[in-house]
């Protein structure tokens, strides 16, 4: 069987798949980010490249993906949000991604524009993430664009989406995931997870869906960060015990990573496909977390 990407192959053939995440620079130079990509290259199958994350302007995702792949050989997962582009721009970028050799795409609605550094800008949301997944399916399967016009060569990308197991109520999120899977979403990366019980319940609720789940893993670097996330990040549930341990720890970063290794060892048996490791602006900690998970032998 041939696979579109290494990520698809890993999800089909490996017991446990690990992806990472890089944020393009707020800079006209890619060099620092390439150093980050090199740091994690041997630890992950592929890395997400975010799309103006939290609505802040950074380098174009598409160009960043291309430069990372070309200059480091690390496979990328091209994140695309519906906030900054209408259906014309989204489709032309998807065609370009394919032409540039990018093989994976992760479709997101996108944070709202007032949350970032250009709060006065006009947001787009011509499509929502489910509609963009529908558009990609149509492009890939039928060779047609959204308007029904023929594409000479259709794109061929391995398609993923996001999911948040900690939301309350959870049923709308499950229904949304059902819609995404119906649009040929093959993998879903989750919001940061700290409470394995939350995931266990969620995995039972989505057992009818044929989709590979990569669980979001972000080591907590301090008790303050943990409290901030609980207050500000939807669906993030952090057990009090973790916050206590961080407070008491001498080396908080190491304690944070250790707790993530423990979480991974618990969730590894829950039918998940792997983990997605995210540490904003800290590729070194992505590498360190993955190495700790692998060294522990839990996966």
């Amino acid at each position: 069987m041939s696979f579109v990407s290494s990520l698809e192959k890993s999800l089909a053939t490996s017991k446990f798949t690990i992806t990472g995440e890089l944020t393009p620079p707020k800079s006209a130079s890619i060099e620092d980010l390439l150093d980050g990509a090199k740091l994690i290259k041997d630890d992950v199958v592929a890395t997400n490249v975010t799309d103006n994350p939290t609505s802040r302007v950074v380098m174009s995702t598409l160009a960043t993906c291309h430069l990372i792949e070309k200059q480091t050989g690390l496979e990328t997962i091209y994140q695309i949000t519906c906030r900054d582009r209408n259906r014309l721009a989204l489709q032309s970028d998807i065609l370009a991604a394919n032409a540039l050799g990018i093989k994976n795409i992760l479709v997101l609605t996108g944070d709202y524009i007032t949350m970032g550094d250009h709060p006065e800008a006009k947001s787009v949301f011509d499509l929502d993430s489910v509609q963009l997944l529908w558009a990609i399916k149509r492009m890939q399967e039928e060779g047609l664009d959204v308007a029904g016009k023929k594409l000479k060569t259709p794109p061929k990308l391995f398609v993923g989406a996001a999911v948040n197991p900690g939301l309350d109520p959870i049923e709308p999120e499950i229904i949304r995931l059902e819609k995404k899977v119906a649009m040929d979403t093959k993998f879903a990366q989750s919001q940061c997870l700290y409470d394995p019980a939350v995931l266990e319940k969620f995995m039972n609720q989505i057992s009818h869906l044929d989709v590979k789940i990569l669980v979001g893993i972000t080591p907590l670097l301090s008790a303050g960060m943990a409290k901030w996330m609980v207050k500000n990040c939807p669906g993030v549930i952090i057990p009090d015990e973790m916050i206590k341990r961080l407070k008491g720890a001498e080396d908080k970063v190491q304690e944070g990573i250790k707790m993530m290794v423990e979480v991974v060892s618990e969730i590894a048996t829950m039918g998940v496909a792997g983990i997605h490791v995210m540490v904003p602006e800290r590729a070194d900690l992505v590498a360190e977390t993955v190495k700790a998970v692998k060294a522990s032998g839990v996966v």
């Binding site: 609605t109 011509d126 929502d128 529908w134 709308p172 229904i175």
Partner: protein, 215 residues
């Protein structure tokens, strides 16, 4: 109704900087109900602009209806003619209708905010965006176009928390409201349906309706 909000007095004064003789026109319909352009607010504005010569005031019944506005300004036409500027306390439609009718320099005294529901005096909530393609039958009678900042059509984004929206934690996530309402109504099957991208062609500005029977 159309919900309006008063511009600050500083902004109004800045717009009237070069004006000497000012006529003030209010709105007897939406702006009266919103307490932004009724008899009381017109009177108050006349007092606040004490450094200008206020040549006259009127609250027109419905300034957005050209026929009614024409009728209501006829008795004050001399005063309007004497004014160099008309300050209009209505939505943007009334401001433009007055300009079209009189050719005068017009200054808006209000900002037009949204199509809204009045909860009680001074409390208004956006309920419609005049998108031109009503889908309230598909969403439990709750509008995601006007009440979800992203205008999502296929359920909530993953930004809701305690039922509140990621953009403003004081406001309800409308898709959580829609989910709960449709669940109560036994309409979750409809909630699950995929909604295709919207057709924005039908709402290209400027919109107009000219029924053949009115030609």
């Amino acid at each position: 109704m159309i919900i309006t909000e008063k511009k600050t007095l500083e902004e109004v004064k800045e717009s009237l900087k070069t004006s000497k003789k000012v006529f003030i026109l209010g709105c007897g319909t939406c702006a009266t109900l919103a307490q932004t352009g009724g008899e009381e607010q017109v009177k108050e504005m006349a007092q606040l602009l004490s450094d200008k010569e206020i040549v006259g005031t009127v609250v027109a019944e419905t300034p957005c209806d050209k026929r009614l506005l024409k009728r209501d300004i006829r008795p004050v036409s001399e005063a309007i003619n004497a004014a160099d500027t008309v300050l209009v306390l209505s939505c943007g439609v009334g401001v433009q209708t007055l300009a079209e009718l009189t050719g005068k320099i017009v200054i808006p005294g209000l900002n037009t905010k949204f199509l809204g529901m009045t909860e009680r005096i001074g409390e208004f909530y956006q309920r419609c965006r005049a998108c031109g393609d009503c889908i309230l039958d598909e969403t439990g009678g709750i509008c995601p176009i006007s009440r979800c900042p992203k205008g999502l059509l296929n359920g909530p984004c993953a930004g809701h928390m305690d039922g509140k929206c990621e953009v403003d934690r004081e406001k309800d996530c409308v898709w959580v409201l829609i989910y709960k309402r449709m669940k109560d109504l036994g309409q979750l099957d409809k909630f699950r349906e995929f909604r295709k991208p919207r057709n924005y062609q039908i709402s290209t500005a400027p919109q107009q309706i000219v029924r053949s029977s009115s030609k």
